[in-house]
């Protein structure tokens, strides 16, 4: 008997629930005119939007969006991973730009249910980046600026590629973490940077994207240049000093013997944004100082 | 009307082990006090688990008022017989009263709450076992003797015709042993319940029991049941326990005193 009552209760609940509390219909999607209140949910998206000359239209960004300088003072709607939905809705945006990974995709779905226009972009490699720039240009009403940006990126990249094309390719070990030692493998965009900068990833194909490596593998791959990314809130000179001390333990490596240990600004080489080509150029300058006429 | 308990050619063996109880048959009348005695490992506890329906016999039948025990649902079994174990671990801090109230689980209505009848039964049981002053204590804070009395109270509150106990005087001092047996005897006499208890103390069995079931290992010696005077003879105790004893009589009471091991 009691189970029957229980079942009835459950059934009525599910049947009646949504009917009693039907979601109110908000305004429909707004007509397509150039958005005036844009929120970007990732630093690279901020760089793209600002690069299109829309800095004034950006009403909010995420923490760690620090480029260009003008966005530092913009309100924040949470961090890249931990976004604050009510802060986003409270800004009444007419366009939200998000990345295509799971959390931001879920968030985009919830925003769309509240009739907030959202676009998500998967930016995994350089072509994705160019595509995203084009698409953002289109929806923000700046297609010409977007085309210009894409062309200048392609032109700058081609220039670096042409400079290093005939030079011998040094083997590069790109360390992303020292303890335990992990390096960039072949299936990463770091690998794309190394190859376009005229180098060769010292680590061969691996199962992991960023494989942890042992001393034996480090010695076997004989890198001629070792690259580290600047850690957050580290002084570059301090990190370079530490890196030199650390790598001294492998003093048979060519890179250590010739002291070709480099610390690169992670904004340039770790962020799939418009400055990535500058990252390639900086890397190339370190790999081929003679070709670029800079002191090693 | 036949006997309350009718055990027919009962056999039992644990999985992968030899036969522990072999072709045991006996019957018990309602309202009797039966002691189950025998050396360690002879299957006393196993027998009462079989009687209480916890274990299923390998062969034979256990009939309680003509019905097979292991054919009954746990609830209907719990309204006919109550079991007091040697020890029960209490994981969470239930009070004495709450513990005894659990005896009424099989009697609860669909809302799952005790009626006044249930509460009265529990109160009677607490008074009878002289544990009413402990009612609000946590069961974990009781001494061994108090704990044993509380679990007897719970068995009483279950309001059954049959009470089965596994060594109720285990770990108790002399005074508390006597107290427990006096309590059981008065329950038998006043309320007419059938009591089946395992005991290691053959003198207690001699004084309190109407009949003794002496379980014996091996095939040369059969298990016997009967009045304690007849069952607990010097020869039989020597054969079953391997101990030489003397029977002494004082004021028409018989006592058994061990002398030493058999050579």
């Amino acid at each position: 008997m009691r189970w029957l009552i229980l079942m009835l209760l459950v059934v009525t609940w599910w049947a009646a629930g949504p009917a009693v509390f039907s979601p109110t219909q908000g305004p429909g999607p707004s007509e397509s005119h150039a958005p005036q209140r844009i929120i970007t949910l990732a630093p690279n998206l901020t760089e793209i939007v600002c690069g299109l000359g829309l800095t004034d239209q950006v009403v909010a960004v995420t923490q760690f969006s620090e480029f260009p300088e003008a966005v530092r003072s913009k309100p924040k709607v949470g961090s890249f991973w931990q976004l604050n939905l009510e802060a986003i809705v409270g800004k009444q945006p007419d366009l939200v730009l998000a990345l295509g990974f799971q959390q931001q995709r879920d968030l985009a779905r919830r925003l769309r249910r509240m009739h907030v226009p959202v676009e998500t972009f998967n930016i995994e490699d350089f072509n994705d980046l160019l595509g995203a720039i084009g698409a953002i240009g289109k929806i923000t009403g700046r297609p010409a600026q977007a085309t210009g940006m894409v062309e200048s990126l392609q032109r700058d990249l081609a220039e670096v590629q042409a400079t290093v094309r005939l030079a011998p390719r040094p083997r590069v070990l790109w360390s992303i973490q020292r303890e335990p030692l992990r390096v960039a493998g072949r299936k990463t965009f770091v690998n794309w940077i190394i190859e376009n900068a005229g180098g060769l990833n010292a680590i061969g194909p691996t199962l992991h994207q960023y494989p942890p490596v042992g001393a034996e593998q480090v010695l076997a791959c004989q890198p001629e240049v070792i690259v580290e990314q600047l850690m957050v809130q580290q002084d570059p000179h301090e990190q370079l000093k530490q890196a030199r001390a650390y790598w001294q333990r492998y003093n048979h490596l060519p890179a250590v013997q010739t002291q070709r240990i480099v610390v690169l600004n992670d904004d340039l080489v770790a962020r799939m944004g418009p400055r990535i080509v500058m990252g390639v150029r900086v890397t190339a300058e370190h790999l081929h100082p003679d070709l670029f006429g800079v002191a090693p | 009307m036949g006997p309350q308990w009718d055990i027919q050619t009962l056999s039992f063996a644990y999985k992968g082990q030899g036969v522990l109880i072999d072709q045991l048959s006996f019957s018990l009348a309602a309202g009797t006090f039966t002691g189950v005695a025998g050396p360690n490992g002879v299957g006393k506890t196993t027998l009462i688990h079989l009687l209480s329906g916890t274990l299923n016999p390998s062969e034979g039948k256990i009939l309680l008022e003509g019905q097979s025990v292991h054919g009954m649902s746990p609830a209907s079994l719990a309204r006919r017989l109550a079991l007091v174990r040697q020890h029960t671990d209490m994981s969470f801090g239930f009070t004495v009263e709450e513990t005894v109230l659990m005896a009424r689980t099989a009697h609860l209505d669909w809302r799952g709450f005790e009626s006044t009848v249930d509460r009265d039964r529990v109160h009677e049981a607490l008074c009878l076992t002289e544990t009413d002053h402990l009612a609000h204590r946590s069961i974990n804070s009781l001494s061994g003797g108090e704990c044993q009395r509380v679990f007897i109270a719970r068995a009483l509150a279950q309001d059954t015709d049959v009470l089965i106990l596994d060594e109720p005087t285990n770990h108790l001092d002399l005074k508390h042993q006597i107290a427990v047996y006096d309590l059981l005897k008065s329950i038998q006499v006043d309320q007419g319940k059938t009591i089946i208890t395992i005991t290691h103390d053959i003198n207690m069995a001699m004084q309190y029991c109407d009949q003794v079931l002496l379980l014996s290992p091996g095939y040369d010696q059969k298990s016997v049941i009967g009045p304690p005077q007849d069952v607990l003879t010097c020869d039989r105790i020597e054969a079953v326990f391997g101990v030489r004893v003397m029977r002494l009589t004082h004021n028409e009471h018989t006592f058994i005193a061990p002398i030493g091991q058999c050579r």
Binding site: L9, G17 | F92, R111
Partner: protein, 342 residues
């Protein structure tokens, strides 16, 4: 000394806890990074005109507060049941491998990069739910093979399956890319998100039904929390009760986990706190755990929303940081033993 549990006392305590929960919910709806005017929220809706106050108050905060209630109630309620069924004060809703099963499901969903949704739920939620339910079924069947010592067998099966699945998660983590790792990590830490009303109704109904079903098993759970054979002698069909109780507790836990990831601590300390104050009777423990667990998670989630604003903390961090000290204070003040003999 505590009075015996009567229906009247139960109703009084449950009503008081429900009242507390509703007032906490109302108060927490008023807290947030944005300022919301109640007048604007309930003002007449003009079609085609966006009302951000309404959107924030009803669709974001209220939805989220209700979600927290559902998840907190489910976890605390199933924690109480698991502790009783396994007779283990250390048990929590995740003890039978639900956490690692759900984690593995979520990880697989992230790694496969699945895009579709099922009834408005993200692939992570769907896979986590399937992983949780599948793991409980697996642990249950391993525990059955272990046979006679059912509780120990179940616990051991839970530990082994947990370890095995955790190893699988670690393996997948080591070959995943960084955004996949981050996604999974944040999911594992436990997060509250704003769900649609359909999802809230469905899971709220499921959790309510589970809690009510468990409440009706409460007198039997009392006896089972002593020992299986004792419970049987008291007239309880132990296997049937156990299957039902495990099934319902696992179901509402899986539901909670798929909604919010792994939120620790609620399922462990809320039932203990209730036991310390009001005693171990499951008839009171189950409804009060559900209500207090819901209230606690609403509070913890509100803290996680505002304390590092505009960003948010994973709510699992807050439950452990806030819950731990509160629980220690309770333990000292009530000074009663939680398990075993003193």
């Amino acid at each position: 000394m505590r009075p015996l549990l009567t229906p009247g006392r139960l109703v009084r305590l449950v009503l008081a806890a429900a009242l507390l929960m509703v007032s906490v919910m109302a108060a927490c709806c008023m807290v947030g990074t944005e300022t919301v005017s109640l007048k604007a929220v309930f003002a007449h809706q003009t079609p085609g005109q966006p009302n951000p106050d309404y959107e924030i108050f009803v669709k974001i905060r209220l939805a989220r507060v209700i979600l927290a209630v559902i998840v907190g109630a489910a976890l605390a309620c199933s924690g109480a049941v698991f502790q009783g069924l396994l007779r283990n004060p250390l048990a929590d809703p995740y003890i039978l491998g639900i956490s690692s099963g759900a984690g593995l499901g979520a990880m697989v969903a992230v790694m496969l990069g699945i895009q579709w949704t099922l009834w408005g739920r993200s692939p992570i939620a769907v896979f986590a739910f399937a992983g949780a339910v599948g793991t409980v079924a697996l642990v249950w069947s391993i525990g059955r093979v272990a046979g006679k010592y059912h509780v120990t067998g179940l616990l051991l099966a839970g530990v082994v399956v947990n370890a095995f699945f955790s190893a699988l998660i670690m393996f997948l983590t080591s070959i995943a890319n960084s955004s996949q790792i981050q996604t999974t990590l944040f999911w594992l830490m436990g997060n509250m998100t704003e769900e649609t009303w359909d999802v809230l109704w469905f899971s709220g109904g499921l959790v309510c039904a589970g809690a009510v079903g468990l409440f009706f098993l409460a007198p039997k759970l009392n006896a089972i929390s002593l020992s299986d054979s004792d419970a049987r002698n008291l007239g309880i069909h132990v296997t049937a009760v156990r299957v039902c109780a495990f099934g319902m507790a696992a179901m509402i836990t899986a539901c909670a986990v798929s909604l919010s990831g792994l939120i620790g601590f609620v399922g462990l300390i809320i039932p203990h706190a209730i036991r310390l104050i009001w005693g171990p009777d499951h008839r009171l423990l189950i409804p009060l755990s559900a209500l207090v667990g819901g209230t606690f998670l609403v509070l913890a989630d509100t803290v996680s929303r505002v304390v590092v604003a505009p960003a948010q903390l994973p709510v699992g961090v807050v439950t452990a940081l806030v819950g731990g000290p509160i629980f220690i204070v309770l333990l000292i003040r009530h000074n009663r033993c939680l398990g075993g003999r003193p």
